[in-house]
């Protein structure tokens, strides 16, 4: 490790680089284009945070989701990484102008791909030296992938307009075919590719099917009793998160709550931080939860129902066992769940919805429906409604292919892990008793006991003020 890299690393409070980080940082600092495939939770932020501090000028980070952007900004601010700003649609005109006028004073600029192609933003960026362009969630560039964002297609052109600065593309999962698309679209030259294994050997990949929905719920209760330590239960719907949180509210030894996009912002923030500090240990959540939650000791992630893609599933279970200790994950579903998801993926937005969104794109801009978001993104990328309808129906084929991969995974006769690794073109560990299938008591017995941290409970505002403002006298 180079001395200046080590110095930055210590400044951010770390001792060592994790596998992949060293290689990627070295290649970026050497001026190469880099594609890094790092599983969630393996520290991809540091891969651009350190070069960004060492290189002159701005590090521009393209992030597809507002929530991801906020999360990265908070994380950078917490680590003291100089001046950080996020350019996104939530800023009003005056603030945007103020920031653009002083853009060169920022070290890290986060931006949504749609905003990057706006003339005023682009011209502010061309006036300020950009030395590194980071494309986070780079798989969004893959047209036929589940997370496709039309604006990502323009990133290659924009990079040229920004003086062909070096580019670092990061993603958690990318099969070989997608890696090629990323390289081509971003016009990478002789790129250095680091592909870590997607496999997480410390995770048990449980897969359990039950005839009835009720049995799924019963199984959740049994596992919550048997396993100790923090647990996330991904539910099918907002409604289900609330229902299960109420049902297990009095489960001995568990402090439950629910989390979804319909919960107001302040409550979401409290619950997220309670979960991190141990005030809550069981969260029933939709996929809205987890983006920024870097909690190492999650011992169990349950996924209820059948995911539409293996990418969704991989991302959800990836939140378990980040401390490297054994953790259990389980996809628990009923026979009905298979047809539920099959129905969901075959549903196309009606042309009338496309038209409605085109008439009032701003009105739909904050919807949390993935299909609506995609149509809004097409609109921002200047597709015609006809082109959108055509693209959407072509996506049907792709979605059903993704869903077939999920079914292959669920029905794998030999090893679920092997099926998952095949899908991601990655190597995984060989099947053992601690690998996959029905969650066994024998595996659960190997889980480490959670640390019993003594947590002080504060009651009364005077007591709370003493803690908060350090006035113990």
């Amino acid at each position: 490790m180079r001395a200046e890299v080590a110095e930055q690393l210590h400044k951010f409070g770390y001792q060592n680089l994790r596998p992949g980080q060293d290689e990627i940082i070295t290649a970026v600092l050497a001026g190469r284009d880099v594609l890094g495939i790092l599983p969630t939770g393996s520290g991809k932020t540091l891969c651009y945070q350190i070069p960004g501090m060492l290189l002159p000028g701005i590090t521009l980070v393209v992030e597809p989701l507002l929530a991801l952007m906020r999360e990265q900004v908070l994380r950078m601010q917490a680590s003291g990484a100089g001046r950080v700003v996020a350019l996104n649609s939530s800023l009003d005109k005056a603030d945007m102008r103020a920031i653009l006028a002083t853009l060169a004073t920022y070290k890290f600029v986060f931006i949504s791909p749609e905003l990057l192609s706006r003339p005023d933003v682009l011209s502010a960026l061309t006036r300020s030296p950009v030395s590194l362009m980071v494309v986070d969630e780079a798989h969004c560039i893959y047209q036929w992938g589940p997370d496709f964002r039309p604006a990502y297609l323009r990133l290659g052109d924009l990079r040229v307009q920004l003086g062909s600065c070096r580019v670092l593309a990061l993603t958690a999962t990318a099969p070989i075919s997608v890696r090629e698309v990323i390289g081509r679209q971003l016009r990478m030259q002789n790129a250095y590719v680091y592909a870590a294994s997607v496999d997480r050997p410390e995770l048990f990949l449980g897969v359990e099917e039950y005839p009835q929905d009720g049995q799924v719920t019963d199984r959740v209760g049994a596992l919550l009793t048997q396993v100790h330590g923090p647990a996330i239960i991904y539910c099918r719907s907002k409604h289900q998160t609330e229902e299960l949180a109420a049902r297990f509210a009095h489960l001995a030894g568990r402090k439950c709550n629910f989390y979804h996009a319909g919960v107001d912002e302040h409550s979401r923030m409290l619950r997220e931080r309670q979960f991190i500090n141990g005030g809550l240990d069981t969260l029933f959540a939709t996929s809205a939860f987890g983006m920024g939650v870097d909690k190492p000791d999650v011992r169990m992630v349950l996924y209820l129902g059948v995911p539409a893609t293996l990418e969704d599933y991989q991302q959800a279970i990836g939140r378990a066992g980040r401390d490297g200790q054994p953790a259990v994950t389980a996809l628990i579903y009923s026979e009905r769940d298979v047809s539920r998801t099959a129905q969901f993926i075959s549903a196309l937005p009606a042309p009338s919805l496309v038209n409605a969104i085109y008439r009032d794109a701003a009105g739909y801009a904050n919807s949390d429906d993935a299909q609506i978001q995609l149509i809004v993104a097409y609109h921002q990328a200047h597709f015609t409604p006809a082109a959108v309808n055509a693209a959407l129906s072509e996506r049907l084929t792709v979605r059903s292919k993704s869903f077939m991969a999920v079914l292959d995974f669920l029905r794998a006769a030999d090893c679920h892990r092997a099926a998952l690794m095949r899908h991601f073109d990655s190597e995984g560990m060989a099947h053992t008793d601690a690998c996959c299938g029905h969650v066994t008591d024998a595996f659960l017995a190997t889980l480490p006991e959670p640390l019993r941290r003594s947590r002080r409970d504060f009651t009364g505002w005077q007591v709370i003020f003493k803690q908060i403002f350090n006035t113990q006298a």
Binding site: H266, W461, I464
Partner: protein, 329 residues
Amino acid sequence: MISLDDILLLLLDDQPQRPLGLWGVITGRKTASIMFAGLQHQQLHYFGLLAGLSKPDYLAAVQRLLTAKLLQQTDEQVWRTATGRARCAQLHGMAATLASYDPELNVQQFAPRFFLAVQVLSEASYQQRQYVPLSADWQVQQYVRRWYHGTRAELADTVQELTVIFSQLHPATADYLAMLMIGHEYVGSGADQDSPLRRELALCDLLHTIESRPASAWQRLWGGRISLLPPAAAQTSAEFLRGASVQELVARKHRRISTITEHLQLAAIMGQQLPLDRFLSVQQQAVLATAWAGGQRTYQELLAALPGVEFLQVRMFQIMMYRRQNNAR
């Protein structure tokens, strides 16, 4: 638990009104027609109270009240039944709680600033510089940063000031607000019956206390009351008061006549003293006053009493009358 149905029943009127008028008021939609409905039905006090309430949720609640026969309906208008009025009388406790709300307190903007300010002071009390701020919002961060740098020299005083403010709150409100805070190695547990509305009302109580201590740093964080009148409308109304006619304003500001009349209505609804003589002659006012005294309240009825006048003239008369009526209460 504060139930939505109870709140809506309290806020709706004994006089018929279109249900979406109230929805527009409580979600903070600043158009002349919404604000006029709010004035007419004494609902402006609750402007923006439930900013996040969706239209379907609102209409579903109204439907439940109709089914429970607490409201009745004809011609797309709803109003309280006798049972509904009796139920309201039982809800006087909640009515008192809701009364602490005041749209001019600007509580929605204050909330994230307040909690971030507490966090900033907390971390500073432990000499911590690296922590995850509870809001990633650029505006909120900038605002609190500026406030903090203006306050920094007297950290202990600022904390002491907040302690005094909290000691003046109802103890349950103070405890509740403390349970929503985030600070150094402290994450509030939230309350069992937490809701955005309960939070908003508790913060309004806090703001009333802050308002009574004008010299404090917390007053500066709050920034004082805001005017509900949009700046453009305030400007139009000021120029009108200096003598410009509607036509002159249209020409001078390059705005459509509908925009100018919208501005003038908003200004009148929010309490600007626009002389009625500028809109109606004394004789015309007398005709309308007679009709009004005879129970004719709607635009159509008043226009029938005084054919040939324009919408704005009648609307200004109605606004003045409703304001007078509300002031007399």
